[in-house]
Symmetry: C2
């Protein structure tokens, strides 16, 4: 499923879930085989000769497209950072439900494909709708005595009409890999990865949010103690976050100048500043932020830290976005540990 | 190194570090092949024909014992719960240095061997000493530009004179397995596992604590931010702690009566009570505590929880020992995450 030279860590074989080690992010480009994978069911095996994309409007009428027909639409390209909603779950205390991602359930890639708005323009009654539903051809049962169903997510019409919301068929200039949704995956820039449905076969104009398992029961913020089974707040926009990628937990370093660097992103806006603390969060310094390149891409930050004496240190980093959102020390705990954007702390020893 | 039917999880191959899954503790007895392993260097391969135990007093004079000679001393048996000082480190936030044990770096076993006091009685000048040093024949370099040295730990003379502090040659009635210290390991009841030196070859009467790497630099409580390299407080007595072993993180349960059970222990005394909360720590109920059997063994607790409605719940458990020590919500953070006895919380779903 992945190339032999992949450096991904396996969190689960069935379904296939693989995480990127943080030091991979030290290189500016992430190879496709190093991009994290979060599947919900078996990875489907597609016969592109039979494959088609079905679009259906509110009136029940629609259009089918072959792969070749979709390639004839104008090609739109966008660089997007995608983060799994469960990323950094291993840092959640008290412990929560779900697979224990370290911090590597995130990645950035250049995606190319058809803007969803281009396809919506072919359909009638758009103005009467509120949401657009995307269904993948991956399916299964989530063990709640529920019937077998396809993975699916709806997004608001306004987000679907964003030119950068695309059905991608290329990843970093290569044909979209099978594990990443070949032949077509949705890319919803700025949202957690669960919205970027893979192996898309159906686009449906709908007048309310989808009520499928993943959208209404799974990717929702469940408060600490509850006997409700429906939750109003669904996981959507990525919260402001930053990671240290150049040093590892427990690393031993020589005294002198250390250039510490990493990444920062927010689904709600661009990154305004990234601060670093080398004394357990007591004092904060502004880091150097690389030039802004793309609205939905992460940004590089770096900081030269001078140390003279040996000792044990906690290096922390926190980002602020253009809407003024700042990373908290601890995130808002929820039962499945979604959207953990608590400050990343790396303990190091100067020897 | 371990039997094929072992259920241990590998944390490290070199040195060999293996963890016990919590559900193993549901059975009252833990098979030797399911007992956790924390090695610091390669597991030594002993030739019992050449092997001897050297004891040296403050005056420089000592006695050597063969394996057969040690077997002639009176055999002392004691049931002891040993916990690795790094156990539960994966629950430490902010993250700390060290191997990420879940909660399975703990186990209980019946140990048999020679009381250390029996050997000390053969040596002179005991009253002038303060500590007894035990050296293993496992050795290596810890990467601080230090020379190769043997693993070693000293304990206070008063603890060494406790009749239950033994050089064990049997584990649950079997010959001590190689990975657990064959032919002889120290058992220091009530102390974290690092004190129970494996593969012991030397006993030395000394007049101050050992200054070896593990004792003076590694198994010490390093505060959150420090430029010191020597720390006064060494890891020693196990803190009061309890674990839920009958349900797993994220488990889905049917509504009705759930019997929840687990273990509790303290190095500082016996367990006085174990409380459980099913509402995220807002309300606490007393659990049923099994009859007290052995001072240094863990105790079983259980609780019948009745649930009617589906929902998400946080189950927490906290123990109190006979000295009044109570588990905290969060432990005292230290750089290597030693002695994490923060309350164990297990999220479950009633469906």
């Amino acid at each position: 499923m992945t190339a032999n030279n992949s450096r991904l860590h396996t969190l689960s074989q069935v379904p296939l879930v693989l995480e990127t080690p943080l030091d991979v992010f030290d290189a500016n480009e992430i190879a496709n085989e190093d991009f994290f994978i979060r599947s919900h069911f078996d990875v489907p095996d597609i016969n592109i000769g039979n494959w088609k994309l079905r679009s259906i409007g509110l009136d029940g009428y629609g259009v089918d497209y072959t792969y070749a027909q979709l390639m004839e639409f104008p090609k739109h390209e966008v660089t997007v950072t995608l983060e799994c909603a469960g990323n950094s779950r291993s840092s959640v205390q008290p412990s929560c439900e779900g697979m224990l991602w370290n911090h590597g359930g995130v990645g950035r890639s250049n995606w190319s494909g058809v803007s969803v708005q281009t396809l919506l323009a072919q359909m009638g009654h758009i103005s009467e709708s509120t949401h657009v539903l995307f269904l993948g051809c991956d399916s299964g049962n989530e063990g709640y005595d529920s019937p077998v169903s396809n993975y699916g997510m709806s997004i608001p019409l306004s987000k679907a009409m964003d030119v950068d919301t695309i059905l991608a068929y290329e990843m970093n200039g290569e044909v979209l890999p099978q594990a990443h949704g070949y032949p077509m995956r949705l890319i919803v820039p700025g949202w957690y990865g669960m919205a970027s449905v893979k192996w898309v076969t159906d686009i449906r104009i709908v007048d309310k949010p989808h009520d499928g398992f993943h959208q209404s029961k799974y990717y929702v913020y469940v408060p600490p103690e509850t006997q409700e089974t429906q939750f109003p707040e669904r996981v959507s926009v990525m919260k402001v976050k930053s990671l240290i990628t150049s040093i590892k937990r427990g690393q031993r370093l020589k005294a002198g100048v250390q250039t510490i660097h990493g990444k920062a992103w927010s689904g709600a806006g661009t990154i305004q500043k990234v601060e670093i603390s080398t004394d357990n969060g007591n004092n904060w310094q502004i880091t150097d932020l690389a030039q802004f390149e793309s609205q939905y891409d992460w940004q590089d930050w770096s900081y030269d830290w001078t140390t003279n004496a040996p000792g044990c240190f906690l290096i922390s980093v926190r980002a602020t976005d253009s809407l003024g959102n700042v990373q908290p020390k601890y995130f808002d705990w929820n039962f499945r540990g979604f959207a953990n954007n608590g400050i990343h702390v790396v303990p190091v020893e100067i020897v």
